[in-house]
Subunit: 215 residues, 2 copies
DNA sequence: CCAAACATACCAACCAGTTGGTATGAACCG
DNA sequence: CGGTTCATACCAACTGGTTGGTATGTTTGG
């Protein structure tokens, strides 16, 4: 599979495996209930290797947050970003999020939302990292929202940023119900309502069939 | 304050103090990070008293969920329940939730949402209790939603229950951002968007001024 | 005086982090 | 090229402190 492996790529691979293990185990069991040994077992290394790469469990958390942010940025710099109308980019974003739901619950939920809910009062460093990551994601959304608002609802009373937080609140809250019901369907239904709200604010997009140009 | 106290009311008071301590400490620190000693300290009793009243930490969690549900039912059997139009009852419900935000974060957030997010995969009994409590609250909302839909949007494609979950998702998700930002304002803004959505579905209510009857 | 309500002292299991050591591969030197 | 050197990556065993839970007292109300 990977026969020629230099020392530095090997160490990076181990570090990456620990970060992936942290991402998945913490999303499943929460931060406090996840032990360092849990993460080591999931990554297939021992505790010695863990503390060779990370000075503490909290620092692993911080680095896992950063890695998750990188993944999210890559994921949502997606095809819909090329659509000309910002409203359609927002609806495309929600369609992508709906399409991601065909997985196990720990795989489509948000590490930052899970983490910050649990540790907001006990681990300020982790909380601030989560806040910054979510704010950055929302800032990207807010740019499209502001453009869509200028185009389709210039006189609306709400701010573009507040709608960005609203959209993410729907997502984060729906994840909670998916965990409670052990079923992702509730997320898809809530995102459908969210799309309806966006349509009520910005109007409906043109139909998908490209062969029906409008005069 | 309460000088004449029978034995049974005294023991009930201790039990209630433990349940309140659990409710507040768990909302602040999460379930796993909350130790039995934490709860005992917050309630002003020792571990002996704790295990006299509860056989285990998990059982305390179950009973705290039940107590929280009772409180929520009482809180939201509120004045707005008397409004004739179910749409106005829904908007009144949201106004009450907005009015509750003038408190510390651990005091207006939802114990069940906090708990289930953290322990959904590790404590099935707690998860099921949270799911049942939230489902019951949503069922109450759904009754008003169904009535409002029959009245104002009979042909809409969405189900009343899905809108109930959507409303609660907005709340739960907004709580996450309040914790991340250490600021409740984001909850109020998201609930304002939610009210806008309901108005887009059901129409706006009559203005509050009762002296302006409409022709 | 008795039983329920609470306190104190304690235990076994667990957990984050440490310690001392080994394997591996690259770099340098002859 | 071949052997020594050395740093990095990793491992197994251990430690000090913490945690849920228990065992055994002591107080209190009736």
């Amino acid at each position: 599979m990977t026969p020629p492996k230099t020392a530095s790529s090997r160490t990076e691979a181990t570090r990456a495996r620990l970060l992936e293990a942290a991402r998945d185990v913490i999303r499943a069991k929460g931060y406090a209930a996840t032990t360092v040994d849990d993460i080591c077992a999931a990554a297939g290394v021992t505790k010695g290797a863990f503390f060779h790469h990370f000075p503490s469990k909290e620092r692993l958390g911080l680095d896992a947050i950063e890695a998750f942010n990188d993944m999210a940025s890559r994921l949502f710099a997606a095809p819909f970003a090329a659509l000309p109308d910002p409203r359609d980019r927002l609806l495309g974003y929600l369609d992508v999020r709906i399409a991601l739901l065909n997985r196990e619950i720990p795989l489509f939920t948000c590490l930052l939302g899970t983490l910050v809910q649990e540790i907001h009062a006990t681990h300020p460093a982790l909380r601030d990292a989560c806040e910054a990551g979510m704010a950055s994601h929302i800032a990207a959304l807010t740019r499209d929202i502001a453009a869509a608002k200028a185009l389709h609802a210039p006189d609306a009373a709400w701010s573009a940023e507040s709608l960005g937080y609203f959209m993410q609140s729907v997502l984060q809250g729906a994840f909670i119900f998916a965990k409670a019901k052990q079923d992702a369907a509730v997320v898809a239904e809530s995102l459908t309502h969210l799309k309806l709200y966006l349509v009520s604010l910005f109007g409906a997009p043109a139909p998908e069939t490209k062969d029906t140009p409008r005069p």
